[in-house]
């Protein structure tokens, strides 16, 4: 049990190492190109928004790695894999041998084809920001201070989170989305429209069906100003002819698996690094997990499945007989003022044979909720604008609960009432129990003339006191005995 090297030190890598440590593995090496110890990437937008302290992102105390036999090498980029020699070559030429290699290189942001965005030396224009790492987040955070306006390119989960974060920070924000509606990989047009309306209400305009094509000057001219001298303001030209003047452009147009190392080494790579049910690549001593892996034709792109893969691989590497069967995903938008949960793939699922869609739209409230049900199981759902029942719906989705015929309706509209004995307290039968502590029935209370007498004769109200209002009502409704 030794000689495990992990390339990448993101969220999947750390979870793998934690589980391996728990199971007694030592001699573990984490190679990460970022300058930080593993941190919680998904909270970067909350850091940007100012609701999460950056110091609270770190996932393990600094001393943890050494005391658990983990060599954490930050700022260390793997440049190539030598599968025959079983070595990883680092950018400075150093070679690190392994018995088992795990690729957990995550994904890299897709850069949309916007002319003028990448400069001659290959770096991004100073007004343009990617948003994947803590370093990206810091850089953007610093830029926010001197800016008034921002344009977010890409109206997916990440884009909307960043847009809301910048808006909460006081910037005037616009969102450009190439598809016909927001969150188009997750939800249908109805939900997308509600989101656009919510954003407008929160002061953010959206441009859907529009592509950013060129970085220009604030006034729409191509030219030298774009190089970011002057006041830093630029313009983003769209394919519909508009130019959006702005101080910042943030690219959130999705990502793709980081597969360069694997491809160069000759491993089987399609969109991601291809793995089998034991998360093995085409080389039996190399595994891949997380955003960079492709299993059964599918990429994941979320933390929960990355962790499931990490845990499964830790079991596999410890000798357990385990099989990866894919994961369920729940995507939750983390953005102040926007309520969105997407379970599974509602757009894909609703078109499958046998799917039925239960749907409630309330434009007045700004909510749209739909469940895709197959064989009485919730297989996907989109919930926008009303998350009051997200907890239970998620439980049923994750556990594959076989529901009753009326239950999908209950899940959206609220459950049926239980059988209740009708009437008010005053109508209670004499035998009906009023005080459970002392076991006193309504009739016994009615036989008394005052609260003091009730206490004296029956002890009702003296235990927990919860029946006092009912006792008072019973006494008040007592037929008057005086003629």
């Amino acid at each position: 049990m030794s000689g495990t090297v992990v390339v990448g030190s993101g969220m999947a890598a750390l979870r793998l190492v934690e589980r391996l440590v728990e199971r007694g593995h030592r001699d573990l090496t984490l190679l990460g190109d970022e300058p930080h110890a593993p941190y919680n990437r998904i909270l970067l937008s909350a850091v940007l928004e100012g609701t999460h302290r950056p110091e609270a992102l770190e996932l393990r105390p600094a001393g943890w790695y050494a005391t658990h036999g983990v060599a954490l090498r930050t700022g260390t980029r793997a440049a190539a894999l030598d599968l025959d020699a079983r070595e990883v070559e680092l950018v400075d030429g150093e070679r690190v041998g392994y018995r088992t290699l795990v690729l957990a290189t995550g994904s890299i942001p897709t850069l949309p084809p916007i002319r003028g965005m990448v400069r001659m030396d290959g770096t991004l224009h100073p007004a343009v920001h990617a948003f994947r790492t803590l370093a990206d987040c810091r850089r953007l955070d610093e830029a926010v201070a001197g800016s008034r306006r921002a344009v977010v390119v890409g109206g997916g989960l990440l884009g909307l989170q960043v847009a809301r974060a910048l808006s909460v920070r006081g910037l005037q924000v616009e969102v450009v989305e190439g598809g016909e509606h927001l969150l188009r990989s997750q939800v249908g047009p109805a939900a997308g429209r509600i989101l656009a309306r919510d954003l407008r209400r929160l002061g953010t305009s959206t441009y859907t069906g529009a592509r950013a094509v060129r970085l220009v000057t604030e006034h729409g001219e191509a030219g030298a100003d774009v190089d970011g001298d002057g006041d830093g303001a630029v313009g983003l030209r769209l394919d519909n002819g508009y130019t959006l003047p702005t101080d910042l452009v943030v690219l959130t147009a999705g990502g793709r698996p980081s597969v360069a190392l694997a491809r160069a080494a000759g491993l089987d790579v399609r969109r991601g690094v291809v793995v089998d049910a034991q998360l093995r690549t085409s080389d039996a001593s190399v595994h891949a997990i997380g955003d960079c892996a492709e299993h059964d034709g599918r990429l994941t792109g979320f933390v929960a499945p990355a962790w499931e893969q990490a845990e499964l691989l830790a079991s596999h590497l410890s000798g357990d007989d385990v099989t990866h069967t894919g994961s369920r995903t729940v995507a939750r938008l983390r953005a102040t003022g926007l309520d969105v949960a997407v379970l599974g793939d509602p757009e894909g699922a609703r078109t499958l044979p046998g799917s039925e869609v239960v749907e409630v739209t309330n434009p007045l409230q700004g909510s749209h909720r739909s469940l895709v049900v197959r064989d009485r199981v919730v297989v996907a759902a989109e919930l926008v604008g009303d998350l009051s029942r997200v907890g239970l719906i998620t439980q049923h989705y994750d556990r594959g609960t076989v529901l009753g015929p009326h239950e999908p309706g209950h899940l959206l509209l609220g459950p049926p009432r239980p059988p209740v004995p009708g009437g008010t307290v005053a109508d209670l039968a004499d035998e009906a129990e009023v005080c459970t502590c002392a076991g006193v029935a309504a009739g016994a209370v009615r036989r008394c003339s005052s609260l003091e007498e009730v206490v004296e004769r029956t002890r009702a109200t003296t235990g927990c006191g919860g029946c006092a209002p009912d006792v008072r009502q019973l006494l008040a409704a007592r037929p008057s005995l005086t003629a």
């Binding site: 941190y39 933390v303 235990g463």
Partner: protein, 697 residues
Amino acid sequence: MHTHCPYCSLQCGMTLQREGRRLEVAAWPEFPVNEGGLCRKGWTATGLRGHRERLTTPMLRDRTTGELRAAGWDEALDLVASRLQELQQESGADAVGVFGGGGLTNEKAYSLGKLARVALRTSQVDYNGRWCMSSAASASNQAFGIDRGLPFPLADLERAEVLVLVGSNLAETMPPAVRHLDRLRERGGRVVVVDPRRTPTADRADVLLQPVPGTDLALALGVLHLLDARGLADEAYLAARTTGWDDVRRVAAAWWPERVERVTGVTVGELHALVDLLTSHERVVVLTARGAEQHAQGTATVLGWIDVALALGLPGRPHAGYGCLTGQGNGQGGREHGQKSDQLPGYRMIDDPAAREHVARVWGVDPDDLPGPGRSAYELLDALGRPDGPRALLVLGSNPVVSAPRAAHVADRLRSLDLLVVCDLVMSETAALADVVLPVTQWAEETGTMTNLEGRVILRQQAVAPPAGVRSDLEVIAGLAQRLGSPVPFSDDPEEVFAELGRASAGGRADYAGIDYDRIREEHGVFWPCPSPDHPGTPRLFADAFAHPDGRARLVAVDHVGTAEPTDAAYPVHLTTGRVLAQYQSGAQTRRIADLPDTGAFVELHPSLADRLGAYDGEPVAVTTRRGRLVAPARVVDTIRPDTVFVPFHWVGVNQLTNDALDPSSRMPEFKVCAAQVEAVARAARPSPGEPVEVAR
């Protein structure tokens, strides 16, 4: 005469009055815990007196007929002693096990532990308190270096601004305590209840969170996450008074609100609101009870909520802090004086040489003759009659056939013994399996101390003479010790035993050395630790220091891993268990009191689930787990989660369903959640009214 209720850990003060031949319960308004209030269990407590089912003569099982027959005390005790000695000669000292209870007085718990260690010299002694608050005990010891349920008097709650109850239904399980909650709210304070059911307690709360059973720890981690993320932890307090925060916050960094929502069902909005409430007040109290504790991760769950309390800087601050609402009458004292497999009196650990030395000196024996740690409660019962397990068991103050998890299996283990001896008041389900049944005194027929949920040592006083023919547990223990040839004498006088207990506990964590019966009478009870007669007792702990050697509290990093038996396609519903107002524990006492309604078991389920199953209110439903099956009437209520059913555990059959997965540190079984299948039962198979029917296993 002033005394205390025979049931739960609140140990309500009450007055017993003789009215002719009758014994009447009356209020004792000056006793501060309940101020004269009682629930119907308390008001009817004298109902067992003179009950026709009271046992008044020892019974021996006749070898030839298999029936129990009456016997004299000498015959019974001689037989027990000689059989125990034979078995020990054949199979060693550990061939005899001893099983106690959290309802026994301090004196009995102490004498029972001493009987095991000195007269029987067996390591195999434990008690049913493992199934009560042991997870909180283990967590408190780790965090604070001491385990006292509440570190302050209960009435302190009234001046808290926010009270968080995690898994407690005190309005039903200890109604007189609710007065303190109500006063808190009258003063403008707020109450938060965390429970999968909207209980009568939750009805009085300002905030109710209904997490999936078995996910309270994830909720605590979510709170910790937001405290750290938003910079709201009390860093000055954490630096000055604790260790471990850095490890804890790193675990919590992985529990962002959306993940907590997915696991617990508590929404992101609810979690933020909870944190806002907790951090906008100074005087916050967090209390856990069985709902949080009776899990295979019970200790970790309690530690998670203690971490929350510490991160908020609460413990040691007036009217703030963490506490556990102990369940059993003497759940607190019962765990302090040596009936636990790993402990000696005074909350001393049995593997600590100094502790052995001290206790052996008080007992007048050689420390090397004291056995080491033995098996915990469930492991002890599970080992009965197995090749390396005990061949005989002595049971006092417990009814494991009803109260143990996976109870049918436990009954099988009890049947496999060479000798089962049960001391009880009535023919309990466990006594019915015994070879020897010894009739013992009850409550008002005897004197002894209890330690309530606050750590207050109180005195129950004898008010009436016991029925002819019964003996006190202390007399039984002393009688057996003498017949077993104990090297040292055993007193059967409670006050003498208490004085000896005081000496044995001196210098331990739970130090009773300065307490005596007169002080208890004069002072409305005395809070331990109380090391000397001139010491005032300790109502409030932690103002200056915690009980670890460095004076600091420990935040312990714990992570949520989930329940031992997750739901799946075959068993898709969570089953949780608990108590109802009118019954107590296995019901051996309360079911025999005519004035207490005995509904029999029932199955609470949500209208959505009822609709799915085609079940109707009042009609029978079957609950099946991997361990057993129970049929009982449905109660359709919208106060429970739709993915969960609730069954009260007081009746035979219910604990045949529950899971025996154990917490690694407290050895608490996972009573509060397992996977079940629920179905409506055709009318033809309907059980006779009021009686749950065990159909099959």
